[in-house]
């Protein structure tokens, strides 16, 4: 039996981002949102562990109230219950605040053996919340995991961490937190019954004042501008002349010799 928490973030679909060419400002007024890709893997992993070992899966998110629809989305992917830590000020928070908010909500309300997070979110990709949350809760963590096994008899998980120098297999006593990589699993596409079933699952609303604290940011964003890349953008045909022109240009640039 495992009581699992899967944390997820509701992020802008980067395909919808438009750019004002002159100022390089991002135009976000018509963007759609989705559950961050690696968090889907986290939810999927939690669902699989529950199917295998029994227990429960709670999906938890920190978001502004306008993100409400993320809850049914998450619930259609396996969890039994969702927790919605919400406040309008959460539209622009930084990882340290998210970790503190998650910690406060979890400590006050949710029993758990294991917390699963994605390795990072597809919008900011700071890769901080997982380990920061573990620190706040005073529990051990294993990051960049692509294989997770629960050893019931010893109340621990064995995790394969995929690191630059190879795989590091670690044992982590529960309660613990892991952050997982996208190659850990392939998230299921919710079936219609799962989508309809999401409406019947409980959602607990946790407003900011219920947590009794404020969480000040430590970083200050000066601006966020579209990345530029100034390239020549010259095009040639596949005919022999075109190819020779390209080769000539490359030689002139000194990149081939």
């Amino acid at each position: 039996m495992l009581n699992i928490i899967a944390c997820f973030k509701w992020v802008i679909d980067e395909a919808d981002i438009k750019v004002d060419k002159g100022s390089r400002r991002l135009i976000l007024d018509r963007v759609s949102y989705k559950i961050s890709a690696y968090d889907r893997n986290a939810i999927e992993e939690a669902a699989r562990l529950q199917e295998r070992h029994g227990g429960s899966v709670a999906a938890v998110t920190v978001a502004p109230p306008t993100a409400k629809q993320c809850l049914k989305d998450a619930l259609s992917r396996g969890p039994d219950k969702a927790y919605f830590v919400n406040d309008p000020s959460f539209a622009d928070i930084e990882p340290s605040q998210t970790a503190s908010l998650l910690a406060a909500a979890i400590t006050s309300r949710i029993e758990f053996d294991l917390i699963i997070c994605g390795e990072g979110s597809s919008d900011l990709y700071a890769q901080q919340v997982g380990p920061a949350l573990a620190e706040r809760l005073g529990i051990p963590c294993a990051t960049y995991v692509n294989k997770l096994t629960y050893v019931e008899s010893e109340r621990l998980v064995i995790a394969d961490r995929k690191l630059e120098d190879g795989t590091e297999t670690v044992s982590v006593p529960l309660p613990a937190l892991v952050t997982i990589l996208p190659d850990t699993n392939t998230p299921r596409i919710p079936t219609l019954k799962q989508v309809l079933g999401a409406a019947k699952k409980p959602i607990e609303n946790i407003p900011l004042d219920a947590l009794g604290q404020t969480y000040a940011p430590r970083l200050q964003t000066l601006d966020t501008l579209a990345a530029t890349m100034d390239r020549r953008r010259l095009k040639f045909g596949p005919d022999p002349e075109g190819i020779r022109s390209v080769i000539g240009a490359l030689m002139k640039e000194g990149v081939i010799a």
């Binding site: 989305d73 596409i189 079936t191 019954k193």
Partner: protein, 379 residues
Amino acid sequence: MDFKLSEEHQLIRTSVREFCQKYVEPAADEIDQQARFPEDIVKRLAQQDWLGIPFPEDYGGAGSDYLSYIIVVEELSRACATTGFTLECHTSLACYPLFKFGTEEQKKRYLLPLCKGEILGSFALTEPGAGTDAGAATTTAVLDGNQYVLNGSKIFISNAPVAGVLIIFAMTDKSKGTKGISAFIVPGKTPGLTIGKHLDKMGIRGSLTAEVFLKDCRIPKENLLGQEGQGFRIAMMTLDGGRIGIAAQALGIAQAALDESVRYSKERVQFGKPISTFQAIQWMIADMATAVEASRFLTYHAAWCYDQGLPYSKEAAMAKLFASETAVYQTNRAVQIHGGIGYIKGHKVERLYRDAKITEIYEGTSEVMRMVISGNVLR
């Protein structure tokens, strides 16, 4: 009046899009060019609970509403009109008449496996001499003891080669004209039932369309669907609902044409500028987007009427008429926007252009739609 889709409907749409991106888009070209029936995709449609969407869970369905079903058809058709249509034909033309007119026994026996996706369904009304004039059917069904004996032939029957069950319409009493037609449930492997070869079509090429031959095909008399003489009414009611499905299919095709045209016109540079900066293209896109939006609202409204238990025959006809004519016209515009490349196989708009045409023809031609609408309006 709430024009916003519920969270469930939005989630259903998102899940179909994920599915299409993963399984349907990568195969759509090949399905079209090889005229390959997407058997693997159909199996997955069953796993997603999509082959009996608006039917109760007791009968193997998902217990959802018609609008959910329409959204699924739209999104599947946006990726691949063949896939969208295969699901639509199965759901609206085969499952629906069983649900509406079948006995408990018939529903348990045939509707359950259909909705669960264990078998596919087919609807055989059209004959070489009876298209729009469905009443001119010459296929006969004669009661002989405990069985009906069917003789005749049907043409342009979708899903027939892979159907586990077909709803076949035949004359039980020639003297009564349309009131002499009855509907029958015929399992796919019944002796005396032969399916002709797969017809090579302009569009929806992966959908299996064939002739159906009945030669002393014997079925138990319990396989009569509804009453004798009720067949024409069953067919017409079935097609009413099916029209909303075809409207959704046409909507999906037109939306895809719009998506492709928007993307292409921003990327294609001529005279030093993307062609999306030229007014000629901008106006084409404006017209296309407006027409697609109108198709969407007509289609969703018809589905809403169905779900509310309100009359929907006129609304369904309007939706199909408008959405199909939009699909045909706008896929033509989409090819025009693409220029030469839009004429080349392997480019999505070339396939969309060919796929669109059938939506003006099957499940009731545009001419029949106009008859239905004027009949309603001028009453």
